[in-house]
């Protein structure tokens, strides 16, 4: 501590220890600020059309088009350590071969508490297709609204905010007229 240089050295070392403690405290505080908001989701209409697989132009593939309504108030999830909320609607179902599938059909990033009141009547953003190319014989699907809380520092957490009460069956494939 006898020269300016060694004082700066010592103070920086103490400073970095304190900053690390502060960051650890902030990330631990997130554990005490838990919230479990719930909402509702319902599928208003679902249709299945044939189409061409993206990669192989000759391969036929079923595409499902889902219109859904989802409402939820997710503002309790915003605390001082929340950087953003990643919301996604996904469909869970088992196809006729026993393969369990979970497909995200819509997502949204919420960065402010004011935007956390969700009320969306939307349709799938992403192509909803089946691994075995056909939805025939697939079990009815549950649609869920899930969220991922991303902190400024610390552990990422996940949760489910809404789930359709009854599973929604896949309709017969409609031919394009």
């Amino acid at each position: 501590m006898h020269t300016v240089y060694s004082r700066i050295n010592n103070v920086s070392a103490m400073l970095s220890t304190c900053v690390m403690v502060l960051l650890a405290a902030i990330s631990i505080s997130s554990y005490f600020l838990v919230a479990d908001p719930k909402g509702s989701i319902a599928v208003s209409s679902i249709q299945v059309f044939p189409g061409n697989a993206r990669r192989y132009a000759n391969k036929n593939q079923d595409f499902a088009f889902v219109n859904f309504n989802v409402t939820a108030d997710l503002s309790p999830l915003f605390n001082w350590n929340t950087k953003q909320l990643f919301l996604y609607v996904s469909a869970e179902y088992e196809n006729k071969r026993g393969v369990k599938n979970e497909v995200v059909i819509w997502d949204r990033i919420v960065r402010r508490k004011e935007d956390a009141q969700l009320s969306v009547a939307g349709r799938n953003k992403y192509a909803f297709r089946e691994l075995s190319t056909s939805f025939k014989g697939a079990a009815p699907a549950h649609y869920t609204l899930k969220y991922n809380v991303m902190p400024y520092v610390g552990v990422l957490t996940y949760g489910e905010a809404a789930r359709t009460a009854d599973p929604v069956p896949f309709p017969e494939r409609q031919e394009l007229s």
């Binding site: 990643f86 026993g98 497909v103 610390g154």
Partner: protein, 189 residues
């Protein structure tokens, strides 16, 4: 310029220099042990990674630090942020899982030997990208468990920018290493 230091070194003798070198090497060795130990505990080859691209903005920016684990008994779910490596590409990619397809275990009557991962097909997409990662898969249609390095569990902003700076300005890396080495050898305490 180093006349004083060289004189001191010569006075103290070969033993002293060797001791300094040994100290230096043991510090490096313990660092490596901690790193590899962490990798064993989390079951992933690189438990701490730095974000290199902007494809996950606004969640992760270049220079952020990510902590990964790779649980053997849990399946990957949609929404998980995974780090994966395509065989043939050397840089790992940090993107979110868009689709999962779990294949039923092929028991044929026998009990599975371990609850280890069933076969899963995964599709990923970066939050900041408009379309999924199929272009990045270099021919593969789906990602499998074996391509995944780990799942992101924790996050620390900005800290990793040092590694990015050292990659972009390699002179910085050599200058830093050279300076540290010199300091370690000359310091008497």
């Amino acid at each position: 310029m180093f006349a004083d230091e060289l004189k001191t070194l010569r006075r103290l003798g070969v033993r002293h220099v060797l001791l300094q070198v040994l100290n230096f090497v043991s510090v490096l060795a313990s660092g490596l042990m901690i790193w590899k130990g962490l990798g064993l505990v989390t079951n992933t080859e690189s438990p701490i990674v730095v974000v290199l691209s902007g494809s996950m903005e606004p969640a992760f920016y270049r220079g952020d630090l990510l902590f990964l684990t790779n649980p053997t008994d849990a399946r990957y779910q949609t929404g998980d942020i995974t780090v994966y490596k395509i065989p043939g590409a050397d840089i790992p990619i940090v993107h979110r899982v868009l689709e999962t397809h779990d294949f039923p275990p092929n028991n044929k009557g026998a009990v599975a030997a371990s609850p280890l991962v069933q076969k899963q097909y995964l599709l990923t997409k970066g939050d900041n990208n408009a379309i999924d990662d199929i272009e990045l898969y270099q021919g593969l249609e789906w990602l499998e468990r074996k391509h995944i390095v780990g799942k992101v569990r924790g996050f620390l902003p900005y800290v990793g920018y040092v590694t990015i700076a050292m990659n972009d300005f390699p002179q910085l890396k050599y200058a830093l290493l050279g300076g540290l080495g010199l300091l370690a050898l000359i310091q008497r305490e």
